[in-house]
Every structure is written in C-alpha cells, then in structure tokens.
C-alpha cells in the first residue's frame, strides 16, 4: 500500500488492522519528534529514549485518537511534552508504554548518537516548532489547551481573557498548524 497518500488521521485510524500504517506514521514524524525532544533535553540518548516512549504511547493510544480538534502532530507534541514533564519531575527514564507493548529498551552507541546530529541538522526548526510561527496569543492558547491540557476556563483565566476568545484563538491556531502540516506532508 502507498501509505504516503494517506493522511495522519487515516494512518492512525488504520493502525489496529494494519500495523504497518503506524510504521508509516512513525516514519513521517520520528525525525521531527526527535528534534523537538533533543532541543529540550540537551541529551541525545535521552531524546532517543523519549522518542521511542512517545511513539509507544501513541501506538497504545491510537485506538482512542479522534481526528478533529488537533492535528496528529500536535497530539504527538502533547505526548512528548508530557514525557518531558515526567522526566523533569524526577521520574527515572519512563518506559511504561514500551513495557506495556513488550518492546525492549534499546541502547545506542556513539555512531547512533552521531546520527542524531544529522537528524537535527536535517529536521531544521520547522516541524513541531511551527507553533513558534503563530501569533503570540494563538501560540499561548494552543500551548495551554493542547499541550498543557488545561481546561478552557482555566486557560482563559491565565490569559486574562474570556473563554470564548480563548476558544477562537485555539481554533485559529490549530487551523493554521493543520494547514502548514498539509503543506509540508
């Protein structure tokens, strides 16, 4: 099957019955997620480890993924952000999702870690950091709602605006991200 013609939503929707669809989804997004994590970890080995955990979590949750509010890559970003937060809260390198899926924990040598540098160079800064291109109010709204998973009411209070306005900002921001995602896929 030519998975390249399928959207992210279609790939995730097909994963249960066609496991290779998830492989295609991973291939499409792994470099971007790795780059996102590597820039925030500052440690390539940890970034690789978290990348594996992020996609394992995504695989485990793929049956619950609902196309709609957020593009799949923003959904992935939310998972990645949660894994980073767990790491910063002092949890040992998280591997719950991989254990659940029976995936071995991989170790990487120097050559593999050098490869991460190549990926970082190639990935540039445009993937999940596309958030940075949004206007500040929309970026803050999307971050609060989708990445930090705050409720609309709470996020609106923090932003000092109304819930209706925050909803509009989230909607506009996600629409722009989805449009840019479509342009780059």
């Amino acid at each position: 099957m030519d998975y390249g013609r399928l959207t992210d939503d279609e790939l995730l929707g097909a994963t249960r019955d066609d496991p290779d669809a998830f492989g295609a989804f991973y291939e499409r997004h792994c470099r971007g997620v790795l780059a996102f994590l590597a820039r925030r970890c500052g440690d390539h080995e940890t970034a690789l480890d978290l990348t594996a955990e992020v996609f394992a979590s995504a695989l485990a949750a793929s049956g619950r993924y609902r196309p709609g509010e957020a593009p799949a890559r923003v959904w992935l970003l939310g998972i990645a952000q949660n894994k980073l937060a767990e790491l910063r809260r002092g949890r040992a390198r998280a591997d719950a999702a991989r254990r659940r899926l029976g995936m071995p924990r991989l170790t990487f040598g120097d050559a593999a870690l050098e490869r991460v540098e190549e990926v970082l160079d190639a990935a540039g800064s445009g993937y999940l950091d596309g958030l940075g291109d949004l206007p500040p109010d929309e970026r803050a709204a999307v971050t609060a709602r989708v990445i930090d998973e705050r409720g609309y009411t709470e996020a609106a209070q923090e932003a000092g605006t109304t819930e209706a306005t925050l909803r509009k900002r989230v909607s506009r921001g996600l629409a722009k991200l989805a449009q840019r995602g479509g342009e780059t896929q």
């Binding site: 019955d17 290779d20 594996a52 719950a96 659940r100 490869r115």
Partner: protein
C-alpha cells in the same frame, strides 16, 4: 511502510521504528484474538447464567455480564467500545479495563444475597475494584468503585504495608444493611482482616493472585470485606465518618507470617 524504508541499519530511528512496527503487529494480533475471545466468553457466560449463575472467568471477561457492563469491558467491535455519551455507559473510556482482570470474586452477604467483584487495570493507569449485583440486567449496573493510581499503590504496598483499603462503604445489594469495602494487597498476602474503631476484626474475601499489565512488582490480590452499615443517624460529623470507615487490621502472608498493618 516497508521496514526497509529505513535505509541505514545503524540509524537509531530505524531501530526504534523496527521495534515499534513489531509491537504494532503484536498488538494487532492481540486485539484480533481478544475480539474472538470475547465472542466465545459471552456465549459461555450466557450458557452458565442459564445453568445456575456460576461465574466463568476467562482472560478477557469477568464471567459476570453485569460486572463487565459496569466496568466497561466491551468487545473491540462493541458499539460502545471507545465511545461514551448520553444513553451509553457511565464508565468513561479511559477508566475502562486495559487488561489484567483479577479473578472474579463471589461475595456472600450475611442475609444470603451475593455480589460479584473484580479488580482491573484501567487505560489511564489506575487499579480499580468494583462490586455489582450479578443479577442486575440493566445496561448500566449500579456498581461501587474504588480506584488508586498505580504509582500511589506501589508506594503504599512497598512502604506502608502489604494490604490497603481502597474504597467502598456501599453495596449494590441492601446498602442500608451492608457496606462492602474493597482493597488491594500484595500477591503474597493470603488473608486480610479489617475492622472499624472499637469493632472486631472481620475476615475479608481475598482473590487469587493476578498481574496487571503495568504492575512490575509481585502479583496483586484484591480483597473485599462486608461490614454492617452504620446505624441511621450514626454519622453526624467527620469524626463519625472516620470511626465507621474500616482499616486493615492484619495481613497473613503465604508463609504464615501475620503482619499487624498500620491503619489506613
């Protein structure tokens, strides 16, 4: 994706991708087996229910239809699997079983009535226990739930004591007379007594050992104790509530050791 799409074997992303794709294949096969297994389980339990109400336990069903409905244990192709909403199941999707159902327990009440109970790991990382009236044929059986985050449960069982009450106090059968309190114990615990302040120790019904998928320690057991409900009007202040909420008094281990546990 063909696994050969990753051109370089020394590419760490290729290694992760191959591992993920293999896991996706295992998961897909598991879901197919689970789907077929549930069809078989439903047929089996329906037959047994007609024959006399015995509990048939399989790896994917509690063996009690009311209990399966109460905890949202749906077949993969059930219309309510993955969905919730008006007219549908009360239990949220994330609070449904991920796997690791405990053995189902048949708990006799002092007046001859019975309730069914089981524990399970949820999709959002909790260990929950539930009791229902096995005769309940409604779409949404009334159940009592107690849930504890796995990380907190580990802390309890590793640091505080081998058995802990998780929740409860009600009963789907004659709740005005009985309160059923559920808890989780380490796998090496074979007997538990609980009691309220000033009351005698009551033996709990303890399940066989089971292993939730995300639990990496020893296996777990779930236990339930039936205590008389507080008399009407007995709870007037918070102090009364604590007095009538039971605590674990002792845990008996498989090697015969009895541990007087701290209260919780």
């Amino acid at each position: 994706m063909n696994r050969s799409d990753f051109a370089r074997q020394d590419d760490p992303l290729a290694a992760i991708g191959a591992s993920l794709t293999a896991a996706a294949h295992r998961r897909s096969a598991h879901l197919r087996r689970r789907r077929h297994g549930l069809f078989a389980a439903v047929a089996t339990t329906a037959t047994l229910a007609v024959a006399g109400g015995a509990f048939a336990v399989t790896g994917t069903s509690t063996g009690v239809p009311a209990l399966d409905r109460a905890i949202g244990n749906y077949a993969a192709d059930d219309p309510w699997e993955g969905h919730e909403g008006p007219g549908g199941p009360r239990v949220p999707v994330d609070r449904r079983p991920y796997g690791g159902l405990s053995p189902t327990i048949d708990i006799p009440l002092p007046d001859g009535q019975r309730v069914a109970a089981a524990a399970y790991e949820t999709r959002d990382g909790m260990i929950c226990s539930t009791i229902v009236d096995p005769k309940d044929t409604t779409a949404n059986p009334r159940g009592g739930f107690g849930c504890t985050n796995i990380r907190i449960l580990k802390k309890w069982l590793q640091g505080d004591g081998p058995a802990h009450i998780q929740g409860g106090g009600g009963s789907p059968v004659s709740p005005e007379r009985w309160g059923i309190h559920g808890g989780i114990a380490r796998g090496d615990v074979v007997g538990v007594t609980v009691g309220v302040e000033g009351g005698p120790p009551i033996d709990a019904v303890v399940s066989g050992a089971w292993q939730p998928p995300s639990w990496n320690g020893t296996p777990l057991r779930v236990f339930f104790a039936v205590l008389p409900s507080p008399p009407r009007g007995a709870i007037r202040a918070e102090r009364d509530f604590h007095r009538w909420f039971p605590t674990v008094r002792s845990a008996r281990l498989a090697d015969g050791t009895v541990i007087e546990t701290p209260t919780r």
